[in-house]
């Protein structure tokens, strides 16, 4: 008798790799990415809206004028010129930043990983919104924390819940939040909640990680102050150009106290020495022409706004009674809550067969909740496809309702 181990390294993996397994949801996405399926699942920015000839020109200029820099290693912190541009971008939302307090990362996703690396010991508690950005859960998850999920409502994180947890004696290492048009809910934290969160965390000496990828994609209304503005010393702010320019250049950043920045730089250098010089120069050059980047951003916002409208109208028209959803004023996502008895994960196969895809809610909770919830993204498909996709989803949900009625006799 022989024991067959398919993976001969199986006894060698670290415990943090244990959760990295194949999943049926991933398998379904292999079909969902087929062109005949209307995918309301992935949050891909609509890069087709970028003026490609101008980008070609920028890339040409970078390579002809600064080729020897663009093709060389750079410093771990990112070039000072780029950091200045990024500080200028943050100023759009009222955040005052010294470029020296910035570290450029490979997308904000790398900043999440580096934050996990410098802050989390195995077993540490990390407070996250429930639901939370799945990429943050997986990035932090690799450092083996326990999660403290804090419920959200239409005003964002319910800070009273965090307060109660602290009273119970819970001591999270940090609190992670996407306060503007959050992923997956599209919800924006109200001003009162922001003040409450900042005050509570300051008093308890718990740092806040403010992840703000969508803040500049505002469709209407006035922006709330960033948490970083409310308490610069206690908030680590993460930004990215993935939504305002291109996710393909992988340029994000963290803004923090100098002591934190220093550790982030060392961690970054250990991870990948430095970011891509070529992409950093491209980004820096792109944002050096104010008329150009503002015009492009305005186009993107107009496109996303129309798509958001199309999705909300279609939801109103097609979703059966008992379903509820958020109405975001920006960003990429609408969060749908189905009646309790519906299991969005189990339903995904039938949805894909009907050629529409979404992300089941369970992906966004660290504790298996969210079975009757799902995330819809309006950023990538055209308005027509959004309407078609939501109509297919609505038909399926109505059938399920009928089936459920029959099952209950």
């Amino acid at each position: 008798m022989t024991e067959f181990s398919i993976d001969r390294f199986v006894d060698r993996y670290a415990s943090r790799a244990a959760g990295m397994t194949a999943s049926e949801v991933r398998a379904l996405f292999a079909v969902a990415s087929r062109p005949e399926v209307v995918s309301l699942a992935g949050g891909m920015p609509y890069v087709q809206a970028l003026p490609s000839s101008e980008i070609v020109a920028v890339a040409h200029d970078v390579l002809t004028e600064m080729g020897d820099v663009a093709l060389q290693y750079g410093g771990g912190q990112g070039t000072p010129e780029l950091r200045e541009r990024l500080a200028m971008l943050m100023a759009e939302e009222g955040v005052v930043a010294d470029p020296e307090d910035l570290v450029v990362t490979t997308g904000a996703q790398q900043a999440l990983d580096l934050i996990g690396k410098i802050f989390i010991n195995p077993g540490d508690l990390v407070a996250v919104e429930a639901p939370a950005y799945v990429g943050a859960l997986t990035a932090f998850g690799a450092y083996e924390p326990r999660f403290l999920p804090i419920e959200l409502d239409d005003d964002g994180m319910i800070v009273d819940e965090l307060d109660r947890a602290l009273v119970r004696g819970e001591r999270p290492k940090f609190v992670y939040t996407v306060p503007n048009f959050g992923n997956p809910t599209g919800v924006t934290m109200s001003y009162d909640r922001r003040r409450q969160l900042v005050a509570l965390c300051r008093e308890a000496s718990i740092p806040i990680i403010e992840d703000n990828p969508y803040g500049l994609l505002r469709f209407e209304g006035e922006a709330e102050q960033c948490l970083r503005t409310l308490d610069p010393e206690n908030v680590i702010y993460l930004g990215t150009v993935s939504k305002t320019f291109s996710p393909g250049v992988r340029v994000g950043w963290a803004l923090a106290e100098p002591s934190v920045v220093q550790r982030l730089i060392l961690a970054k250098e250990a991870a990948d020495l430095c970011g891509s010089s070529l992409n950093m120069l491209l980004t820096q050059r792109w944002f050096s022409d104010e008329k150009r980047w503002r015009g492009t951003l305005a186009n993107l916002v107009d496109t996303y706004r129309s798509r958001r409208d199309a999705m909300l109208d279609a939801l109103e028209e097609h979703l059966p009674e008992g379903a509820m959803w958020t109405s975001p004023s920006g960003g990429f996502y609408v969060w749908v809550t189905l009646p309790e008895w519906l299991d969005a994960k189990a339903l995904l196969a039938a949805a894909v067969e009907r050629r529409v895809a979404y992300v089941p809610g369970t992906a966004f909770y660290p504790d298996g909740r969210g079975r009757n919830k799902l995330r819809l993204a309006f950023c990538y498909p055209t308005e027509e496809r959004i309407r078609e996709g939501v109509s297919r989803l609505g038909a399926l949900l109505r059938e399920e309702q009928q089936l459920y009625g029959s099952l209950r006799g």
Partner: protein, 311 residues
């Protein structure tokens, strides 16, 4: 030989099929064949086959369209040979509602079951019969789609209150749900290749977290396999007999895998037969072949030769 490996498709098992299809394609190339992969989701299959006129199609599709006789019937129509089981027998095997009846009639042991059809629920008020199903089958039970693979849509139900949700989950993958008595025991796969079919060593499946679900199947290292299975010789013989009875009854040809549960007392129960067993790096068929000293390339060669050796 010129061989088109048909893999991919539009089913939830697309990914698994492509992984297996790529492995087979490179293996066939090593064996000296002119082999290429054809994904029916990317090209019009008939046009592609007419244009490149292969001598043979290797069917690496899984799930509906690939295992249910659809592709087989199309290839019959085009007059192209293909690996594995004929159209009608594929259809019969893939539909667990039909297959279980065939097995029982042939005297092959299979766990007791009842069927809930989606349309009967909607139009005939079959929901009222759920409690009867529970009385008949007992708890815990397994609820699964009649036509699906890779354990997709399968759930184990401990409490009657969870049954409706499990049935809805199974119906998400298929038009009918099977409610089956849960056999607690050792999971064993009996694989066969060649013409006539020859048994490969039994493979015992020990998922690390106890459940052989999608993650346990396709994550390297998530499941331990023992080949040959650690069974008493008499029990192993009973498993082989049951498995052989199953492939005889269902007309399996060229390649097949029978999933068997060995219950308390060593009695085997056949769960299902697969006419297109997975051939990814974590799949049971290649493990069984390896245990018999048959390399992946030799296994592919044997499956190809089986096509030529048919009557």
């Amino acid at each position: 030989m010129r061989i088109a490996v048909i893999a991919g498709g539009r089913t939830p098992e697309r990914d698994v099929s492509l992984r297996g299809g790529h492995r087979v394609t490179s293996s066939l190339a090593k064996l000296g064949h002119d082999a290429w992969l054809v994904d029916p989701a990317d090209v019009k299959l008939v046009e592609e086959l007419r244009q490149h006129s292969p001598d043979l199609c290797w069917l690496a599709l899984h799930g509906k369209e690939g295992e249910d006789g659809t592709v087989q019937r199309l290839l019959d129509l085009l007059g192209i040979l293909y690996t594995g089981t004929a159209a009608l027998d594929s259809e019969l095997t893939f539909d667990k509602v039909l297959a279980k009846d065939v097995l029982r009639r042939a005297g092959v042991p299979t766990p007791d079951w009842v069927v809930i059809e989606g349309w009967a629920l909607r139009d005939l008020g079959a929901g009222g019969a759920l409690s009867t199903a529970v009385e008949r089958i007992g708890l815990p039970c397994i609820v699964k789609p009649s036509r699906s693979g890779s354990a997709l849509g399968v759930s184990s139900v401990e409490r009657e209150g969870d049954l409706a949700g499990a049935v809805m989950g199974a119906l998400s993958f298929s038009g009918a749900a099977i409610i089956e008595r849960k056999v607690i025991g050792t999971e064993v796969a009996a694989s066969f290749i060649g013409e006539p079919l020859e048994a490969l060593p039994l493979v015992e499946i020990v998922p690390k977290d106890g459940v052989y679900d999608y993650g346990a199947r396709y994550t390297a290292g998530a499941t331990e396999y023992y080949a040959p299975a650690r069974l008493d010789p008499s029990v192993a013989e009973a498993v082989r007999t049951a498995a052989h009875g199953a492939i005889e009854a269902l007309g399996t040809r060229g390649v097949g895998r029978v999933d068997v549960l060995v219950g308390p007392g060593g009695s085997p129960s056949v769960l299902e037969v697969n006419v297109s067993p997975g051939v990814t790096e974590t799949s049971l068929l290649p493990i069984a072949a390896q245990a018999a000293g048959v390399s992946f390339d030799q296994m592919c060669d044997c499956i190809i030769r089986a096509v030529g050796a048919r009557d």
